[in-house]
Amino acid sequence: MPISEWRTDDHRIQEPECKGEERMSDVAAQPAPSLLANGWIRTGLITAAVIAAIAIGARIDPSGTIHKVFVDPFQQMVEAPDLLAQTVWEGLVSGVLYALIALGFVLIFKASGVFNFAQGIMVVFAALTLVGLHEKGVPAFLAVILTLGVMFVLAATIERVVLRPLVNQPDIILFMATFGITYFLIGFGESVFGGNPKQMITSELYLPKGAIDAKILGGLVSFQKIDIAAAVIASLMIAALAVFFQYTRIGRALRAVADSHKAALSVGISLNQIWVIVWFTAGIVALITGIMWGARSDVSFALEIVALKALPVLILGGFTSIPGAIVGGLIIGIGEKLGEFYWGPLIGGGIESWLAYFIALGFLLFRPQGLFGDKIIERI
């Protein structure tokens, strides 16, 4: 090789040194380069084997369990596509809301490195504050603004009282602190607004009621207007967040902080300010999620169960990926509705409450970093 070709490259040869600890840990996190170690290939092979086994099993015994579990539901899906569409739509809507809860979580995790156990409760707390304020006679839109104010105060307080003093402590301590926040919010919410379930102020916020029945796929599929509104609002909010992150000064700073706290600090980005902003953003997302969810059921701390669905969503989507949170939410939402409708009757129903965790667990075995686990930059 001529010398001149060497020269253009020689500053790169020494590159690996410069990334220090980050690079080391990246390397450690990489799986061994074997075909089976690639999560996708392994999952694919195992799935193929399982399908083959099932197909053979169902052939041998056309009326047995294997047939009921693995063939019959799919036949039903094909025979009644309108029912399938209805089920998928319902799953999609709850999936969107799971995605929003997970999204708030990812925002906080990326920017402040905190595994925020309280994210789900923030959803309930925001909804409860809104409804509670309205009950106390505050007009609906003023109540929304006041609730946003409360979420801001909450963000600023958490930054000041929890994050700032604990900033250099191990992650587990911050995680425990979010447990504290969770129980504080439950206690505080109940003592101020009472513990009984409340109705969301849907009509006061001009959210649509009723349903649209569409004649498609040879049957009637019914779309609740509030669900359509939820899907539309959620999409708009995600788009707005994307624009905010991509094109604004603060959004850029948020991404910078998520990328490297140290470097962000060195260019004069104030982490405290960023944390308040990010927790407030998560608070806004929580409020919108809470309104949409509250409109579909009651507003009470029982929603907490729903909020905990964020965990399987995050396992599926990866803890640091916003697209992952969205796709993960949709998969879990649709998956559990399909499971409940087609497979639930086989075991007497009630699948919906645990299927998500089951899917997530399976996923953990094959792809622990999630569908969209953080893209690791590695120069070659």
């Binding site: 500053h11 020494q14 990334k19 260019v267």
Partner: protein, 281 residues
């Protein structure tokens, strides 16, 4: 005649110093004493080098000034730091950057997932003088580093080490600093890239009047561009002087430039160095 002298403006000597460290002590984790009384000054519009081997405390000194120590559980426990006529030892990095003192960290630390241009723009985070001014300065940076302009849309994580170092310096420049604390710009770079970067330092110093405090292990290169140098060893300044003087000093030549005359590893020379060191500290 006496009245005429009285009406003269105040002598410039008071503002001649942009940065002074007065006998500072730094402790990590409440127990590890790393800096044991370091004093140094940087003249306004000067380029000063801190030299020394691994673990001498160069990085710690720079971080004490920019107050990035706190993030590493370090603390300035004694002494004072004055930047631009103001005590800054309790100030957050954010306030310091606003006042015009910014650090370029060892190992560059660009934001790997952001594009080069976005990296540069984050440097302007603390500025309040509007988008037009920021845009103008961005063009200036691109003029200074044409290579960054070519790669403005690449993710910084995928650019070369030299480009990342330029990006880090450019990013710091975007904050309109009076002073840059530059930590080992030569680390892991080929000689001609290092030279390129030091040429830029010289240009920024001459054209924009930015003062530099550069920590370097590449003594040779640093002393070619700096006007004054401090040599550190295990948390103390063991020698300081004009760059010219340091370049010609026998001990420095032997220990840091690797060009001593005669038998390099002779015991006597080591002893003379040690004596001198004790005397200086």
């Amino acid at each position: 005649m006496s009245t005429a002298t009285l009406e003269q403006p105040a002598p410039v000597t008071a503002t001649d110093t942009i940065l002074s460290l007065n006998n500072i002590e730094v402790i990590y984790d409440h127990v590890v004493l790393v800096l044991k009384g370091v004093s140094l000054t940087v003249p306004r519009k000067g380029i000063v080098a801190i030299l020394g081997a691994n673990g001498a405390g160069k990085t710690t000194t720079l971080k004490a000034i920019s107050n990035l120590l706190k993030a590493e559980r370090g603390e300035v426990t004694k002494g004072s730091i004055v930047f631009d006529g103001e005590r800054v030892d309790r100030m957050s990095p954010n306030e310091l950057v606003r006042r015009g003192c910014i650090q370029v960290m060892e190992g560059r630390h660009c934001f790997g997932h952001l594009s080069i241009e976005e990296n540069l723009l984050t440097g302007a985070f603390t500025r309040r003088d509007g988008n037009a001014a920021i845009k103008r300065d961005l063009e200036k940076i691109y003029e200074l580093f044409p290579r960054l302009k070519q790669r403005r849309n690449s993710q910084a994580g995928y650019t070369s080490g030299g480009e990342q170092q330029m990006c880090a310096v450019g990013r710091a420049m975007m904050s309109k600093p009076k002073m840059i604390l530059l930590d080992e710009p030569s680390m892991g770079l080929a000689p001609q890239i290092v030279e390129e970067i030091f040429e830029i330092v010289r240009r920024l110093n001459a054209e924009d009047g930015v003062s530099f405090l550069v920590a370097e292990q590449n003594t040779n290169m640093a002393l070619r561009y700096a006007t004054y140098g401090y040599i550190m060893e295990t948390g103390r300044v063991v020698m300081d002087g004009e760059a010219q003087m340091l370049r010609e000093n026998e001990d420095v030549k032997e220990f840091y430039l690797g060009v001593a005359e005669g038998n390099k590893k002779s015991f006597r020379e080591v002893k003379s160095y040690k004596r001198r060191k004790r005397w200086l500290s």
